[in-house]
Symmetry: C2
Subunit: 382 residues, 2 copies
Amino acid sequence: MREVAVIGTGMTKFGELWEQSFRDLFVEAALAAVADAGVDHIDSMLIGTMSGGLFVGQEHVGSLMADYLGMTPIPATRVESACASSGAAFRQAFIEVASGMSDIVLAGGVEKMNDGADVTYALSTAADQEYEVFHGITFPGLYAMIARAHMHRFGTTREQLARVAVKNHQNGARNPKAQFPMKVTIDQVLNSSLVADPLRLLDCSPVTDGAAAVILCPLEMARKFTPNPVKVIGTGQASDSIALHSRADLTVLNAVRRAGENAYKMAGIGPADIHLAEVHDCFTIAEICAIEALGFVEKGQGGKAYDSGLTALDGKIPVNTSGGLKSKGHPVGATGVAQIIEICDQLRGVCDERQVKNARIGLAQNMGGSGGSATVHILQAV
Amino acid sequence: MREVAVIGTGMTKFGELWEQSFRDLFVEAALAAVADAGVDHIDSMLIGTMSGGLFVGQEHVGSLMADYLGMTPIPATRVESACASSGAAFRQAFIEVASGMSDIVLAGGVEKMNDGADVTYALSTAADQEYEVFHGITFPGLYAMIARAHMHRFGTTREQLARVAVKNHQNGARNPKAQFPMKVTIDQVLNSSLVADPLRLLDCSPVTDGAAAVILCPLEMARKFTPNPVKVIGTGQASDSIALHSRADLTVLNAVRRAGENAYKMAGIGPADIHLAEVHDCFTIAEICAIEALGFVEKGQGGKAYDSGLTALDGKIPVNTSGGLKSKGHPVGATGVAQIIEICDQLRGVCDERQVKNARIGLAQNMGGSGGSATVHILQAV
């Protein structure tokens, strides 16, 4: 396989973007990525979208976006893995460049969630329709069960969950693309509305419109376009049972663990070699389980990491320097590539007041549903 | 890139399968493919589905299917390109094997259309939501405009359209998997209910439940599993404007033409070297435009090919020996891989009374929407 690099990135602001349509969002991010990379064409596109059908009545996303980007007749394919859709799209783009099939490939993601759709129903289609959704469970409910199990088994506290949100909003306050760039206090989290006990409003990522795109090419071609390409040194993807009730241990994100192991193995490194990470904090408990599954802390010690500041911007392993899904926002299909953009920006040293010093290797972990799918990518400054 | 072969195939019967759910259908086809290939594991899955969200309220298709197939934690990714979803999934699977990322990969497709959903609305999401669907057009309407333009410009007759249906039902009558395996006469087609002038009921492919799956592996590994692997010698994918009104010529399927050119180039052959083809006859006019775009006849001569018997089972270039979408059925996300299965079965010589003699090279053409996306694959017996 050829070595592959990211040579350009682009994303919209994340938020309730009532003035921009599904196609507008994608085109803005894609054009920004094309301009950043300085390429005059692309050979192929992979686009992550969770549910064009339910959110905006639009499938056939590849054709639409190639058309509105002015890029027909290139191959343009939509990839779906619920909230891990663009992590999976990035992986397919990586494979396409690595294979030699295409040289310059755009990997993107887009979701238009604020357009009148029943968002809770649309998101629920990431769970098991027959055995979970039909019986009334929603995603806050699923993650609340994970949180309860984690608190019961490992003594994780309500305050530790709140510290995830506090930390991510601190980071997001330094990110001009963030949907909710305000700082929050532990008291504000603990006193926000109850959504699904023990999770409160400020434990939950918001409903967001947005798009993100990156340009990949063979590493050996990368310096023609940019002085600071970012090399993709590891990719992993894995699946787990779609329904939470099928798992031996509710607190273990097995797909994240397996995807991480595969990415580490490919990169020839381990968790201790990672300088920063973007992880899938759709709910505060998800970040705690993710840092355990990725090996940044021992199993069960995720909550305590938020007492010690391990994952803070100036901690040993800064997590979600972008603000994460929690503060930056979570346009579900766009999240995976947006995470990769934060890692690229950090490795390129362009993150201003949220810049992590001496960051050379970063990891992005994207997840679908309650952990039924996950992707992990490891990137390195070259 | 490594050379790639298909080593096993499996599909459900196509039809109104009220006793089988979305997941049941996929699992049946996938298990049949695994058994046919004789593999004891798979490394990865790509699954084409057009709209799990709108048809059955289920996205996150990769996780669900890996789970119910008992294949977690392998990577499992859903690919969508409207009715070309599994053609696109097959292409991504081909690239994944060719790259060296994975050895044994399942490419499948599934759609459960008969489950209470508003099928006409769900299908319309393959067109441009803002500039076509919102204003009331449906797919029979779009293809009716293509048919009218073809009749006007090239003198294509209503009877020639009918002959496409007659020929495909003749073939489908010999296919035990077909949804509508009855023969029809020209008179029956011409007197069936008017759907969108000039297209009548028997010009339209039906609403179908079904699934199809194939197993791919590196060619050099293929003979360990089967004495008759089928080599993938060409792949092409292309996009076109999603809306019909944006095209310079309504009768030209530009994405099909470009995908075909790319596949021919990769295979190092031309249309005259193809022994049989499965093409995307969602409506009778689509088959006529497809055989033109693929170069089997000159532009504008597609209708006349049905006067001469060129595409009949015993013609110079048999088209849709399976019965096509028209008679075999069209579970939209499954169609692309089902077409590839027919080509594999023909090249392996297992098609009984619809077997094409001395078939060594076959082509499968899958298409999304009114031609906004297309894939072409060329396969060869080895």
